[in-house]
Symmetry: C2
Subunit: 684 residues, 2 copies
């Protein structure tokens, strides 16, 4: 069996790109240590420090470029850091409560019901797409900061990067590979050195300020207002994206997994706060100039190390790499969540299908297309994407924490020592449930307020799109769900039983012309042994006129009926004909036999009308009409010659099979020749 299935592994472009298929039992079940877990799950969160400070400064710069205005970035960053701590504490609780994975979707489904779960799902799916677009765009901005001649090609580079990441993910990425931890730790190292050296040079008075940056072109200055400050705060909140990653991936940690995951989360948040505040402070010290052509990270590194130096370039490369890793995490998260929602019947079921490399291929492809469209529309500019970003993340934070409030309430209802086994997790009595509930509620309140601030302050610059999109997606999810439920109801065998009840069969051979394939069709119809006749849709009047004669000459038995088709339609007249028969004989099966010429290649196939598929589609809604496609393979003389050559060169399984078929065909032809002679003898 194994060698035969390998027969399929012909060398093709998809095969070259994706590698050979993997068996179902190959699904990985490895677990990771805390340092590796940190590296894998932290890239999304930590990488956001590459643009969060910059986005705050770009908004503040609308009111001026002085220290008094841009210096506001420091209190804003501190506020964001406080929010981060609150969310972290709240998410630690979720990790302990849902040791099998506590993403917002699962927590919402378990505690708040389908609607909340689908809202969280829509929000998260949207943000996974944005994570790819933002991270790739920012990563390329880091590179173009160092190599400005690449600037005109940033969209093309972004699309190429997305394509490559997509192919890698379609091949299947072992998340547990420790190779994944290299970019994260490399980035951390570079940032520590940069920030440390920056502080050292500042203290020794040798830190210069930024020069030679093309400042942002402002058309009109707005005055500094609370609204603008809140807008800057919203932009900076992009720093919080990705901190939910660990709660989705608890099962990937070694036991005790909840504790390990929670510790990792604390570490990650600590690093995130440190980097974010450090970058913001140093950016203010060196008087970073908000710019569209050079990132804040690049300005800091350039100021600290000097223009064009090796450590400067390493910092840029390290930052670009962790951003790439962040984009890559969405390629794990999006397809997995989409498969989860599809399994619940809210997304097309195809999303649950694991491709030949065991990955959810459809989800990966959809993510790649959607992110590519975003990159093209936003011209690979992070600033254009930020208003769309993070609304979804904060919405899912809020839903998840409200879910945890309900979860705590459930625990509160238990008696001491009582246990209740749910679908997702087991709830046990906990005397601290009130405190935990308060923490979740406070977290929900904070993130909920931020979400509203975000939606309001960014509404006109892009958040409106997400505000419209998420409800629209939820609506679509529920329509899909209703459809699947209705189909399941139509098909169920529970309730009124349907028993098998055979019917008489009337065979009809749909004939286009009289040739070798027609013989095969008549052969099959006769083999079935039910009453049969041939029919022809008379699209071409001249052809329809000569057909009965041809039938008589070459087939010599049965009759052929011409169905007139004055408007040259194929399916319509046939449908009318079949309906007339069904009306007259409602208790029979009509068995329509259609011929199909099977070619060796797509292009050859495209030269034929392939009406069998048209008929199949057009008449699929007729009950009690069964359609049989009788394929007749046309062997291309050139292809056969080619096969023989490749057979000589490499005796592969496929060639072998092709050969086998050819030989069988020859045998059968000679046999059928003999049989027909016998038949002739008998009949004569």
């Amino acid at each position: 069996m194994a060698t035969k299935t390998n027969g399929e592994s012909k060398v093709s472009i998809p095969r070259l790109l994706l590698g050979k298929p993997l068996a179902t039992h190959d699904l990985p079940h490895q677990t990771v240590s805390k340092p590796i877990g940190l590296a894998i799950f932290a890239s999304d969160a930590l990488s956001s420090t590459a643009y969060a400070t910059e986005e705050i400064l770009l908004i503040l710069a609308l009111a001026g470029s002085g220290v008094a205005v841009l210096g506001l970035s420091i209190p804003i960053a501190i506020a964001i850091a406080v929010l981060l701590v609150i969310v972290t504490i709240s998410y630690r609780q979720t990790i302990y409560a849902y040791p099998n994975g506590g993403g917002a979707y699962i927590v919402a489904r378990d505690n708040l019901g389908e609607v909340a779960a689908q809202i969280a799902g829509a929000a998260l799916l949207t943000d996974y797409i944005l994570t790819v677009a933002v991270s790739v765009s920012s990563g390329i901005a880091q590179i173009t900061s160092a190599f400005s001649w690449l600037l005109p090609f940033k969209v093309e580079i972004a699309l190429a990067v997305i394509f490559i990441v997509t192919i890698i993910n379609l091949r299947g990425v072992r998340e547990s590979g420790s190779i994944f931890s290299i970019p994260t730790y490399f980035f951390l190292m570079m940032m520590f050195v940069t920030l440390g050296l920056g502080v050292y040079r500042y203290l020794t008075g040798t830190l210069p300020t930024v020069t030679e940056v093309e400042a942002l072109q402002q058309e009109t200055m707005t005055s500094l207002s609370l609204f603008l400050i809140l807008r800057a705060f919203s932009s900076g909140c992009a720093a919080l994206t990705g901190i939910e990653a660990i709660s989705n991936g608890i099962t990937a940690f070694k036991e005790p997994r909840s504790r390990n995951a929670a510790t990792t989360l604390t570490w990650m948040s600590g690093l995130l706060v440190f980097l974010f505040l450090g970058i913001t402070l140093l950016a203010n010290r060196i008087h970073v100039i908000p710019s569209e052509t050079e990132t804040v990270i690049s300005q800091i590194a350039r100021t600290v190390y000097g223009n064009g130096t090796i450590p400067y370039l390493l910092t840029q490369i390290g930052t670009a790499l962790i951003l790439l890793m962040a984009a890559n995490t969405s390629y794990a998260g999006f397809p997995r969540l989409a498969a989860l929602a599809a399994g619940d019947g809210f997304l097309p079921r195809q999303l649950t299908y694991r491709g030949s490399r065991l990955v959810f291929s459809w989800g990966i492809v959809f993510l790649a297309i959607a992110a590519s469209i975003l990159v093209v529309v936003a011209d690979a500019r992070v600033t254009s994407l930020i208003p769309l970003y993070a609304v979804g993340v904060f919405l899912s934070f809020t839903i998840s924490q409200i879910g945890m409030v309900i979860h705590s309430l459930k625990i509160g209802k238990l008696k001491p020592g009582e246990e209740h086994k749910g679908l997702e997790t087991t709830i046990r009595y906990d005397p601290h449930w009130r405190i935990k509930m308060a923490v979740s509620a406070f977290g929900a309140l904070c993130t909920g307020i931020v979400m509203i601030v975000f939606a309001v302050t960014k509404f006109t610059t892009g958040a409106w799109f997400v505000v419209v999109l998420i409800p629209a997606l939820v609506l679509i999810f529920f329509r899909i769900h209703r459809h699947y439920k209705s189909v399941a109801q139509s098909l169920t065998l529970r309730g009124q039983p349907v028993k098998v009840a055979p019917r008489p069969v009337q065979t009809l051979i749909l004939v286009d012309d009289v040739h070798r394939e027609t013989i095969q069709m008549v052969n099959f119809a006769k083999s079935l042994g039910h009453p049969w006749r041939a029919i022809h849709v008379g699209v071409n009047p001249e052809k329809a006129q000569v057909l009965p004669e041809k039938w008589k000459e070459y087939i010599g038995e049965g009759e052929i009926e011409i169905i007139p088709s004055p408007y040259r339609a194929l399916a319509g007249p046939l449908r009318d004909y079949l309906e007339d028969i069904l009306e007259e004989h409602p208790d029979i099966f009509i068995h329509v036999i259609i011929g199909h010429l099977a070619m060796d290649s797509f292009w050859q196939q495209a030269l034929h009308q392939n009406t069998a598929f048209v008929f199949n589609l057009a008449l699929a809604d007729l009950d009690h009409v069964m359609m049989t496609i009788v394929s007749y393979r046309i062997y291309d003389a050139t292809a056969e010659a080619r096969d023989e050559v490749s057979h000589a060169a490499e005796p592969g399984a496929r060639t072998h099979r092709h050969q086998r078929i050819l030989e069988k065909k020859k045998q059968q032809q000679s046999q059928s020749g003999e049989t027909s002679k016998e038949t002739e003898n008998t009949s004569s």
Copy 2:
């Protein structure tokens, strides 16, 4: 029958755009008088005067803008006029020799064989596409000359115009409609008045010279050379495009059609020479400034009538209209020639198919797409398209005239009074065959030389594309031809006869799950009365494990076999399984029954895997394996409600039928319910 077929005429977007279907016997067979024929067939040729002079001047302007240089356009135009007279005389002979239509393709096929015919075909098809692109671009240039604020939208306007012309042609245009003659005669009138008034104002000394034109921006001046003059000549030869139109359409003329067609051709050529020389002379008199923003016609009309005057605008509109008519003629010529070549087996056979409105829909759609691509690539600039244009026309002129030389030779071989009936035409002895042959040979020589001049002088600016494209097309045409021939050989019943030889049938029911549709499939399999069993491809191991039990519980008879699929492939393992059976029993038919859930809408269908079609495609190359698709229609509750409402509002045929199916389904369900009860009673 009529009312039933009307049942298909539901109101849809295609129906609204294209109108209701036309019956095959509606094919028009009307003929036209000479004045109408002139208007119909001359638009292509006459409209080329709108850009021919301009293209000569644009090339000459590369060497300077003085009278000494631009004045060369007059001798060049005279040379082109002489060439036109030669071609006209030669084509008159063709019209008499081929009274059933003597396009280059037919003349070449009849006298020079398949290769020459296919070269002519490729050349002509290429030029039909270019005619659309050039005419539409030039027409829009006439309009933007008057309304310069439309200039930024010229590509969008061009695409919109092509789209509208395409829709009109898909609806089907009665060429014989005399409404088609209005634009031609309107254009002729406006040009006569313009040229006449121009000459009058020149003679009375009141004709000013051109002012306020944005001159062409030249980067580097080249010196005046023979090469440049030949290049200008080549550009001006665009004036000759379209004069072959009458020889294609001889059958549209009233009897004596050859004489009427020949007279019309002479008239057309006369008008063409007059207009072309008139425009060139007047352009020189008023010192036209070669420009990218204002056409020569516009500069002449503006100078003669004054800026913004009504007659000026009428001239521009008239010119744009005849250019539109010229584009429209390609919509008749391209699909007709493509259908002719497809009928000979050199193009995909689908091109011979007449759509619901009796037009060759595929050809029209292909022409529209190709012309749109050209317009976008060339940015709707006539000057960018001209180097690609006319190479094909002159190639087909040359082939056609060489064909006529052979034709004359054939006549020369006949004895006096002898007649020979060919496929395309009847040849009769003619004492003047030597003179006619000389005329054709001289014509072929002239057009052949021009073609080479054209290809050489325009090679680097675009002609290389056509020089590469035409041989490539010819190669493709012959590959298609070989394919069709090989298929016909595989299918022919001539030679060794193949007789019907029934075989035993093994029925296999391919089961995905056990539900109502499975019952239908078992029902059909049992009705056929051949040995049957169920099979299931075990993509999902958990599902495969419970399926046999489910089968036992709900079906209760027969067995189900699980085909393992470790790599989650569907078609591969099934193919192996079928091949194993065929190996063991080479003399049977395997009849595979596959289920298909038929939904009401495309979107609903897209939510399902539709594996039946996948299997059909993947296993089409297995001989002696027949696949039956058993459709099971899922009725959407919402759709039914919608149908009932629309039924109340408008009792259309389709709704009626839908209703009938629904009622029938209900009847059958209750019937099968009864039957099943009976079966139960019998079995218990």
